[in-house]
Symmetry: C2
Amino acid sequence: MNGPATTGDQPLRILVVGTGLIGTSVGLAATARGHQVWLSDRDREHVREAEAIGAGRRLPEEWIPFDLVVVAVPPSAAAGVIAEALRAYPDTTVTDVSSVKAPVIAELARRRADLRRFVGGHPMAGRETSGPGAANAELFHGRTWLLTPTREAEPDRVELVAQLAASTGAAVREMPAQLHDRAVALTSHAPQVVSSLMAARLADADSQTVAVAGQGLRDVVRIAGSDPDLWADILCTNAQEVAAVLHALRHDLDGIVGALDGANGEATVARLIAAGNRGSEMLPGKHGGGVAPDYVDVPVEVPDAPGELGRLFLAAGRHGVNLEDVRIEHTDGRLTAIAHLYVLPEVESSLREALAAGAWLVLQ
Amino acid sequence: MNGPATTGDQPLRILVVGTGLIGTSVGLAATARGHQVWLSDRDREHVREAEAIGAGRRLPEEWIPFDLVVVAVPPSAAAGVIAEALRAYPDTTVTDVSSVKAPVIAELARRRADLRRFVGGHPMAGRETSGPGAANAELFHGRTWLLTPTREAEPDRVELVAQLAASTGAAVREMPAQLHDRAVALTSHAPQVVSSLMAARLADADSQTVAVAGQGLRDVVRIAGSDPDLWADILCTNAQEVAAVLHALRHDLDGIVGALDGANGEATVARLIAAGNRGSEMLPGKHGGGVAPDYVDVPVEVPDAPGELGRLFLAAGRHGVNLEDVRIEHTDGRLTAIAHLYVLPEVESSLREALAAGAWLVLQ
């Protein structure tokens, strides 16, 4: 074994196993960067579709000495496919894209797979859509791609996978598998359950009831449109970590329900809301907690006529104001929307004046 | 009794009881429309603050024959203050702004208050902020203002309150109090609990864990920054309706936790996610379910440099493309953001071409 090829040397020979949204997007991205990509999937129609949009070519009969195999199948199937790839290609580096890592590694260890050549990965590019038709060479651009190498993994192979991930435009970070699973249980898997639980309550509601919904509900259930089978697979593969979060959440919920069912529950309810205040402030980045603390919100009414939103941005841009963030709020029963323009405090007054001079209705 | 004055006739004499965010904003809006506004609050500092920003003047010693009293106190205190106002001003129309209606009316009936002169109201203009300092004459512009008149309420008085609400720029709708409480329990109060429950899980998490948070979690917990005392009051006043939603939600949660703790839980979990799919599709309007079904999403990378977001909107606007909606997605670990531009399908390709020609990185 001469060690793995690197993306700096020459075009890599890459096999993508699983041509759903993520696998096909990896194929498109790798092809766009000059690598040779082959595709394989249990579903021949998916392979045909992925091949048709240029993600690579279908796997031929003859054996190919791949530099890298990317396993892009649902988490519950990942370990089996990875183990098979490690066996079939004895010099090849194998990575995967599963959103659950530790159970996959544990299963590989049980199967006595060669963990020196395996580097687990998780490109965090979730979508409401799925399948090869939604795939895109730029899907990973600007996203985080987590790698969870074990101690057995050879450094050159970790570097190879990191280079491929970085070449797609993703921000690559390393993290132990166990910590990864705990982190995504808290920040991705439990939020999916919570959003679905709330949205499920709307399924049987009458339209008159749902008609008063505001932006708050829309935000809470935005991710509730996710694919049921894929998410059932993800949640059940990361069952232990997800259950730990949901057990704690249910304990809090029991407290709230008990407080509402009894009398004088205000203190209990207020404690939960206050804990939520603290939790939402934990979110990293300038937009943690939903409203940027460093920016001023300038809400502006936007009439429902062609071009109004663009005209508003144009008006702000013409006056040299840098928009740090934008959020559009829709209210039922009105044709207008409210555009929240987030700007630095020092430009707030000049933006307000400029918009008011342009006959925009600035709301606060 | 000559029936109530109308806003069409002459300036109304309005008393606002409770000078928090909503009461002070009502005072500002009514003053801006030429009405005479007096202010009262248990907290003298709040009255002073509201008076200082022009929401009205403080209530004098002498009795004034008000045309309208607006009670803007927390839901649990509303009935007492409304009953007192109906007694103190025997010809005056009284309204309130509580986000819970039926328990207030039931309490008024128990106190044998004159329900002919009471018209309950609920301007749906929630904010993460509170207090008179956040008040604004345009707070209600573009929002829904629900009225929940009882059968006893005199039509002229309903009309008076509706006119005042409409004059602030709100969309006025009538709804029976019981239906209102059920609707807001489902669409506002339960989502607040769910968002706070999820955010509370983050309160004790370490920063490394929270660092992988994506836009999904941010959306779910956006409203978790709400005021604990006010929301404890709201939730406990509407306890019965909120508990009904949360009992059903807990039943679903128990099913999920049981499925995760046991084996072969995929079917149970998939059923919940699928129910959430259906529920999120129930949301009214073109943006129901988070992604507008009639529009195409054109995601564009936005570098973190001054003016980039404005420059993007400018580029779209210059090519005559009408942006139907905009959503900004922030990814941890990258300085860039992704702007999702929602447009009609027929203009997608020309927008993509125009942006690509301007060296924008269009992502799918």
